[in-house]
Every structure is written in structure tokens, then in C-alpha cells.
């Protein structure tokens, strides 16, 4: 299976992004998704600068895909998306049907991200017909559903699984970061740049539950499917996705690579993974349970 790096979901400075992708170029990741997918007001890099980074990563041997916004409301957002869809050099991840529409009209292929709902074979066939060459399983669907979907997957379509990171759970018009600071969205002062992994939301009992990331709500806990690598391979998964976090992303990529190459045991890998999980790992969705259910322990009881 190939390892991919999803788009950075948080607001990072230009310096931080350039430094990050410099490290990624050296990492064993195969595919990199690039671009702003959450909020059009975040402009550390403009489209030309993203394309410049895309070229650098391509020169380093990576497959590069330009990701598009998940929630498109304003004409200016459609304009940026048109520019990305018509870049003529890199393929595109459609995170809304708007990008599906444009790419299919252009006769160009595209990846369908996890915020476009593909829950059954019928949806997959329509999108494959429109030009989809890879799809990302909805983060709330289970391995059982994946198994059914893989049996009738159209030819030429690859399957990607969100395997690591805080789970994207919802999108809204309202910016919850601005709301937290009691600022109007139109004058948000870009406060989300202060939280490079979003803002933790606890229950009133102090239990970590969600992460606020501007207009997006994520889980507090991170999805960890390192232990499901073998299962995913058996199910014919082509790509496993790691979602960037501000710390340890290169180490996490390396860990997935090492486990896949059997350079380290899964038990050791899972133990190492714990260090990179600020609020613990979850894999409930994969097992068909509540998403927050904790990652099942591997057989070795010495693993915590």
C-alpha cells in the first residue's frame, strides 16, 4: 500500500508550512495532498505558491495532488477552485461536488475526498463515470462496508483510507474559533493561527471530546489504524492516509512505513504510536462502533 499525507487542516504560517514540506520531501511518504481545504481566509500561501511547493515535492519523487475547499459558499472560493482545477499540471482532490463538476466537465480525472459521501456502489459508479480515479472512504464507515464496496469497485479506481489523525467530523458556516474569542467571522483576526492543532473542547467533566478548527469540528482523539494495516491490505486498499499534525508527522509516516515493511513488529509500532497520540488513539468507526471507541489492543498484552 502507498502512504499518503492529507492536506494540512490547520492554519500554519508560511514559514511553518515550508519547513514542514521540506521535511516531508525527505520522508518515505508516496503521495502528498496540498492546499487549503477548510477556510478560504487562510492565505499563508496563495495558489501559485502551493503549486511551487507541489513542484518541489514532485521533484523529490512524490505524487502530488492539489486539494480543494470542502465548504464552498462565496464566488471568490469558486474562483480559487477553478484555478486549482484548471492548473493543467497536477490532479485534484475534490472535497465538494463543485470540483467534481468542474473536473468532469474538463474531462480530467480527480480524487474524491472523504467529505463527499460515497456510501454505496451506485455512488461510486456515478463518480467513476465522471472521472474519479481514487476515493477516500467516509471516515464514519466500517471495514464491513468497505469489504462490500471493494467487491464491486469499478476498474481503475483506487481506494484510500483515513488511517491517522484527528477525525474531520463536521463543517459549518460559523467559525467556532472566532466564536470562542467573541469575534465576528468577518473580523476573525486569524486567531486560529495560534492553535497549530486546533483548540481542544472538553466535556464539563474535563474529558477531551472534540477539536475546534475554525469552521471545522474534529475529534479530540486521533484515529489510529496502524494496527489495521494488514487487514486493509487484504481488503485491497491502495493508499493509507496520514493527516498532518504539528508534531511528529515525519515520525508517524516512518512508523507506518516500517510496520508495512515489517522492519518493526506491530506491537513495537503500536507502542511507539502512543507517544504521538495526545489524547489517545481511536478506531471505533473502522470496527463499526462509535468513532470515539478506543483502538483495540493488539494481542500482546504488554502493549499499552
Amino acid at each position: 500500500m502507498k502512504i499518503s499525507l492529507g492536506p494540512v487542516l490547520y492554519y500554519w504560517s508560511e514559514e511553518k508550512l515550508r519547513q514542514f514540506y521540506g521535511q516531508i520531501a525527505e520522508s518515505p511518504v508516496d503521495i502528498v495532498y496540498l492546499g487549503e481545504t477548510i477556510c478560504s481566509k487562510r492565505r499563508s500561501l496563495n495558489t501559485d505558491q502551493w503549486i511551487e511547493i507541489a513542484r518541489q515535492l514532485k521533484a523529490a519523487g512524490k505524487e502530488v495532488i492539489l486539494s480543494t475547499l470542502a465548504l464552498l459558499e462565496a464566488e471568490s472560493e469558486l474562483k480559487t477552485m477553478r484555478r486549482i482545477c484548471g492548473n493543467g499540471e497536477f490532479t485534484v482532490e475534490a472535497n465538494d461536488l463543485a470540483a467534481v463538476n468542474l473536473r468532469s466537465e474538463q474531462g480530467e480525472s480527480f480524487v474524491v475526498g472523504h467529505s463527499v459521501n460515497i456510501y454505496n456502489q451506485g455512488a461510486m459508479e456515478v463518480l467513476a463515470e465522471a472521472g474519479m480515479n481514487r476515493w477516500v472512504l467516509s471516515v464514519e464507515l466500517s471495514r464491513e462496508t468497505l469489504r462490500d464496496l471493494q467487491q464491486h469497485r469499478p476498474d481503475g479506481v483506487e481506494t484510500e483510507i483515513f488511517a491517522w489523525g484527528r477525525i474531520p467530523l463536521a463543517y459549518a458556516a460559523r467559525c467556532y474559533t472566532a466564536r470562542h474569542y467573541e469575534l465576528p467571522k468577518d473580523d476573525c483576526q486569524y486567531r486560529c493561527i495560534d492553535d497549530s492543532d486546533g483548540m481542544l473542547l472538553n466535556t464539563k467533566e474535563g474529558e477531551p471530546f472534540l477539536t475546534i478548527n475554525g469552521i471545522q469540528t474534529q475529534s479530540a482523539q486521533s484515529c489510529n489504524l496502524l494496527g489495521a494495516m494488514e487487514e486493509m491490505r487484504e481488503l485491497g486498499v491502495d493508499v493509507v492516509r496520514i493527516s498532518p499534525q504539528s508534531m511528529f508527522t515525519p515520525e508517524i509516516i516512518k512508523l507506518f512505513d516500517q510496520v508495512q515493511r515489517q522492519e518493526i513488529s506491530l506491537q513495537d509500532g503500536m507502542a511507539a504510536a502512543d507517544r504521538f497520540l495526545p489524547y489517545g488513539g481511536v478506531d471505533g468507526y473502522w470496527r463499526g462502533e462509535a468513532g470515539i471507541d478506543k483502538t483495540a489492543k493488539t494481542d500482546d498484552s504488554s502493549v499499552i
Binding site: M81, N117, A290
Partner: protein
């Protein structure tokens, strides 16, 4: 401008039509619709009675089949489309691309509306659904500001249906997984958020109360206060030392004052939320909106929201307060 009202059962359907609804929307008794609540919704037999009542009173009936089937349940959704088409509904309200494809091929004469669960917030997305399936109407998620709705209306040939009143989803519908994160069941997969089977109301020794969803504390209050149903987006949480409604207060959407603007934009229909509510709610809300739409049609320039209308609506609003929601930019 058409007034589209909710009906969770035949008494509500009659209440809507008797009070001036142009159309009612219903669902079947299973997870094929986004109000999959116990004791609610229609079967093949009484949906026929509903259609008969609607048609004999000059109203239309739409069937919402607006959740997302997985392969193991696929036939339940296609059967719902078949039942709706065979019963003679005036349109089906669909969200899933696979089911839209099925309906468009199997029932080419059936009118297709794109549900709010289809998450279409821009004219490019609507264009894809229009050219692929020939959708006749699209229900817009409750995330756009009024100027954005106007821009949308100017750029799509597909008639728009807007939410006018009712419980307020602050997240883009069709893309909200908060409920399944806590319970394993979401509106997409199960047809309801915060399913009753996972809800706990716990009396505390101090006279207060707490609500939990899947064991997760969503809200709590002291003696004499009230907590609402534990919908995650309307719970109280703590963020960086600040406790409160981090996402949204329990309020209802009420857009009566935007009626002239919506009419000027050429909005095809106003949707009232609340298939899970009582026939009394449906009657009350329909009556007010019928009067308001008629007044606005007669004379849009001099249209004023009557205080008696808002007083009537406030009585049935969730949390007994209302908001313009995303239509008003400052809310965002």
C-alpha cells in the same frame, strides 16, 4: 412561493394542509429518512391516504428518502423509492448519489429534489446534480448568508427551497458526523442524530440534571434549570477554560423578516422543519407562515412581520428563542 410543511403522521399532514400548506413532506418508518424516530412516519398504506388527502385539497406530497445507504441496506432504499413512486408522490427528496441514480433510471418521470442532506451549497455542485440526474429543486443547507443565497439563485437554473423555520442545524447537513462519533449512528447512516437509545437523562442528588450521549456528558444544570435534548452541537462544553455553548445555543431558526427578500430572489419554496413535532406545532407554524406569505405576496413593499406571528412562533420554538442563523452574517 410554495410553503412546504412537515408531517410525521396523518394528523400532522392534515393539520398542515388544513392550515394552508402547499405541500407536505413525509418519510417512511425506517432509516431511509433523516427523522427516523420511534412512532413516527408512514408506511405504504397510509402514505397513500396522505397523498389522497393532499391531492383532494390541492396540495402536493413529497417523500424524503434522504439518508445514505450502505451496500448491506441498499434494497431498503430502492424499495422506499419504488413505494413512493408507485404510491404517486409528487416528488422524492433524495441525498445519496447512488439513490439519485437509481431513481432517475428506474422512474424517469419521478420528480427529484435534492435534499438538504445532499450538502449543495454552491451552483457548481448543484450543476453536477442537475446535469447528472435532472433534479428539479434543491434544498439549501442552513449555512449561507442572504447575499450568498441571492448569488446562488442568480447562477443556477434549479429552483431553490430554503429553510424558514424550525430546529437549526448549524453544521452542513449530510456532512455532520458528531452523533456517530459518540454513538456509532449519524443522520447519514441511521436517519437521526443523538438516537434515543444512546441518550441518558440523569437526576443528580443536588436536584440538578445531566444529559449524556453514548456516555459522554453533553450538558448539566443545577436545580430549577433545564437542559435540552443532548444534541452535541447544542451542548455545553469547556474550551480553554471557558465554559458554555461552544457551538450553538438551543435556538430555532425564524426567517419571517426575510420573506420579501426571499420572494424577490425568486425562491421557489420555504421549508418548515419538524416532522418529529406534534400536529399542534405543525398547525401553528403553518398558519403563521401561510398568513405571512399571503401578506407578502399581496404587497411585498409594505410587508411587516406582525408581532402576533412571532409570539405564536416563539411558543413552539426550541429553547423559546429564535435566530436568523447563517442568513444574517453576524451570526456566523
Amino acid at each position: 412561493m410554495e410553503l412546504v410543511c412537515p408531517a410525521g403522521n396523518l394528523p400532522s399532514l392534515k393539520a398542515a394542509i388544513d392550515n394552508g400548506a402547499d405541500a407536505v413532506y413525509v418519510g417512511f418508518k425506517d432509516d431511509t429518512n433523516a427523522r427516523n424516530f420511534a412512532g413516527l412516519n408512514f408506511n405504504e398504506k397510509n402514505v397513500g391516504q396522505g397523498i389522497e388527502y393532499a391531492h383532494s385539497h390541492g396540495a402536493r406530497l413529497f417523500a424524503a428518502i434522504n439518508t445514505f445507504p450502505q451496500p448491506s441496506g441498499w434494497e431498503r432504499w430502492t424499495a422506499a423509492v419504488d413505494s413512493a413512486a408507485e404510491a404517486g408522490v409528487d416528488a422524492v427528496i433524495l441525498a445519496d448519489i447512488g439513490i439519485l441514480d437509481y431513481a432517475a433510471n428506474r422512474w424517469p418521470d419521478l420528480k427529484l429534489h435534492l435534499s438538504v442532506q445532499g450538502s449543495a451549497t454552491n451552483y457548481e455542485a448543484i450543476s453536477f446534480m442537475h446535469r447528472t440526474f435532472g433534479i428539479r429543486r434543491v434544498v439549501i443547507p442552513r449555512v449561507l448568508s442572504a447575499p450568498q443565497v441571492r448569488h446562488l439563485a442568480e447562477h443556477t437554473p434549479v429552483p431553490l427551497e430554503l429553510f424558514g423555520f424550525g430546529s437549526l442545524c448549524v453544521m452542513v447537513e449530510g456532512r455532520c458526523l458528531l452523533s456517530s462519533y459518540a454513538t456509532g449512528r449519524s443522520p447519514n447512516t441511521y436517519g437521526a442524530c443523538s438516537p434515543g437509545s444512546h441518550v441518558e437523562w440523569i437526576d443528580r442528588k443536588d436536584g440538578g440534571m445531566e444529559t449524556r450521549l453514548g456516555g459522554i456528558l453533553v450538558d448539566s444544570c443545577g436545580a430549577g434549570e433545564n437542559v435540552g435534548y443532548p444534541t452535541i452541537c447544542k451542548g455545553r462544553f469547556e474550551v480553554q477554560g471557558k465554559e458554555g455553548y461552544a457551538i450553538e445555543e438551543p435556538t430555532s431558526l425564524n426567517t419571517l423578516e426575510l420573506l420579501p427578500e426571499m420572494m424577490a430572489m425568486g425562491i421557489a419554496a420555504i421549508k418548515i422543519e419538524g416532522r418529529q413535532r406534534s400536529p399542534a406545532y405543525v398547525a401553528q407554524v403553518t398558519r403563521v407562515w401561510r398568513a405571512a406569505i399571503d401578506a407578502c405576496k399581496r404587497n411585498p413593499e409594505s410587508f411587516r412581520v406582525q408581532s402576533v406571528w412571532n409570539a405564536e412562533l416563539d411558543k413552539v420554538a426550541e429553547g423559546a428563542q429564535t435566530t436568523l442563523g447563517a442568513y444574517h452574517r453576524s451570526w456566523q
